[in-house]
Symmetry: C3
Subunit: 150 residues, 3 copies
């Protein structure tokens, strides 16, 4: 497996653990001193980042984050990666829906345990928020069955 | 071409043949004893699965199935694959629209004719159904031009 | 890096430069005699194509084009590629929103400067247009902040 393939697998794992809310495993995707900047929401350590996700993405918040078009450059034990994010967030209790896209600019570092995210950050190209109430027929189900959306 | 690349190509072909409704070719993606479980809709043979698709996905039903983030493991002549599905279904005659996501957990087997799907199945992370009537300005066109949506 | 990987990188660059409206760099993705056919909108030269994009996709038009499922075949210095497009377009001044999908059928050529697009074209599988006015709560932000959508 090449470095680029390993880094892609790391990113796919990160996205899967994010959307399935497996926070302890999610934390293992980062180097010890990793930082993040999600469109201006910044984190100076993996602990801070993971705590934020755990608090703000409880079971009732539904997210989908898919990444596309990996453009990865490896130089020795470091790498940079550009990815095209397409994401959706639903907060059924608030009839809230968000859809958007962004370009990730990541940095990765090779550690004795394999490649890890050293920095992840994105800048939005667009973001659309709507209310599920705008679509009276909307029925939303999460992984565990119907949500609270009426 | 590596095994992983071959399996990715198989999956891409499967999705393309599904959304373009080429059922005879779609059938060739499966091993003879393949099974499937699409979020609880189960099939115990490729024939059963293909017949179901042919019946339930006629020309007027529009589908989009894209898969992302392949996490594939090959051990000898067998392989497993996890994919992130994002899908949309439109049934214009009923003003019905569905969007959702799921994680596929597939099994593949190497045959004399190449890699084939031995089992495919997914579990939904979310699913949103709406009525096109909720958006009075909606105009939907399928591959063959405008659909029946008024 | 293999030819297939180089061609994938070319396509990702093309999509990124399209959605970030970097037209001079976008132009470098094509061979000198490249042609295009986007669902019937045809271009007989890269200059014609790039001029069209520059004129019709000014800053206030928001686009997202993601491509998936690369099926690429290389024969000597030429290649063909099939991709699954998922795209969105927003024209906030007109409350206009479009979403659709298509299969790209591209041709690529190896030049002294690397692989270039010799022909790109797609046929839509579906296209849905709506008005943002159908969703009164809709708030759309582009890369530079809030758009004009009220």
């Amino acid at each position: 497996m090449s470095d680029i393939s390993d880094i892609e697998q790391l990113k796919y794992r990160y996205m899967r653990l994010l959307d399935t809310k497996q926070w302890d495993e999610f934390a293992t995707c980062f180097s010890d001193d990793a930082t993040a900047d999600y469109g201006g929401i910044t984190f100076s350590s993996p602990r801070e980042l993971v705590d934020y996700m755990r608090t703000n993405l409880p079971a009732e918040i539904i997210t989908m984050h898919t990444v596309h078009h990996p453009e990865i450059t490896v130089v020795d034990g470091e790498a940079t990666g550009c990815w095209y994010l397409h994401d959706k967030v639903f907060a059924p209790a608030f009839d809230f829906a968000l859809e958007g896209a962004a370009f990730y600019e990541d940095r990765y570092v090779r550690t004795p345990q394999g490649w890890r995210i050293a920095h992840t950050g994105y800048q939005r190209t667009w973001e659309l928020t709507t209310s599920l109430k705008d679509q009276p027929s909307a029925k939303l189900k999460g992984a565990g069955g119907p949500t609270t959306h009426p």
